[in-house]
Amino acid sequence: MASDPTRKTPALDEAVRADTFVVIAAYNEATCIEQVAREVRRVYPHVVVVDDGSSDTTFEAARRGATYVLRHPLNRGQGAALQTGIEFALLRGAKFVVTFDADGQHRVEDIQAMVAPIAQGLCEITLGSRFLGGTKDMPTERRRTLRMAVLFTRIVNRMDVTDAHNGLRGFSRTAASMIDITLDRMAHASELLDQIRSSGLSYTEIPVQIRYTEYSIAKGQSSRNAIQIVVQYVLGKVMP
């Protein structure tokens, strides 16, 4: 893994790492989930993979790499899978919960930057931002779509964030217990921000880097999906 020492975060205590649960939602990620889970588990003993009803061998692959593997018997969407992982982590006594993407786009080194401010009691929630970090090789179209998403977030969620849809997020136990993601599919990112704002929990954006590989680009959301996400989110607001 290419380590990029552009920024230094003090290494986490052994105790903090042992209390940190890294939650990964995976849907048809058999090719990389084992490797991703294994890399995280080298540093963090509690890696929770939620297999969201994959039709490939994601479950078996995750079993070889992760500490805990949960399986949704039916596909319920990323938001639902994350909520499952968070609830499981809380049941297991997690003090810190970090969500991490399954496709290898996040760097394990960035996790400690997500947990450190919470462990130090500076805030309850950390949100990864690729625009604060030095993310390279971001496809132009992706950059444009994400900028739009940020604008949408600033207007609709009334939150001043720089990256609305980053999968890397950190929660204190208190924050994780208050979060309840009900929008199953990708619109959960906006819903989550809503809940953070209305809960009054303190949050900080943390610069992180995204590795745009061919694989993660192919697995990522297409710009066309963005419209769908907006529609789903708005419907979620008006329908009980």
Binding site: Q35, R38, R41, R64, G65, L70, R71, P73, R76, A80
Partner: protein
């Protein structure tokens, strides 16, 4: 009565009978069954005496009875659509909760510590299958 009235009245009578059966057998809730029966009765009245709809329509400032029915149908369909959509959302939500419960109850736990191949110093290759016995 013209042929259309006879056919339509027959259909409505059948539906009325069906609703009555639902009510008697308890296959629908009492409220639903009675609402349906009232609807079929009203339809029967409108078929036999079409002028009734015209009177109501005129009272509301609508020209023709048929237009009144059209508007009512549209509103009823929209309400029906929203009710079905709301129910669909609730079902989806309940399904997710059920799936979540199953997933958490049946969680697979890997008790073995990360295998030696996982040591960053020794693991150079990408694939290092854990040997689980």
């Amino acid at each position: 009565m013209n042929p259309f009235q006879i056919i339509a009245l027959g259909v409505v009578a059948l539906l009325l009978l069906l609703s009555a059966v639902l009510l008697v057998k308890g296959w629908a809730t009492r409220r639903d069954a009675i609402l349906w029966m009232l609807l079929w009765l009203a339809a029967g009245v409108a078929i036999v005496w079409p002028d009734v709809t015209k009177v109501v329509a005129n009272a509301l400032g609508i020209g023709r009875g048929a237009d009144l029915l059209l508007y009512c149908t549209f509103v009823a369909m929209m309400v029906g659509f929203l009710m079905v959509y709301a129910r669909l959302r609730r079902l989806r939500r309940e399904l997710t909760l059920l799936v979540r419960h199953l997933a958490i109850t049946n969680a697979a736990v890997n008790t073995s510590p990360p295998s030696p191949e996982d040591d960053p110093r020794t693991s150079g290759s990408d694939k290092a299958p854990a040997n689980e016995a």
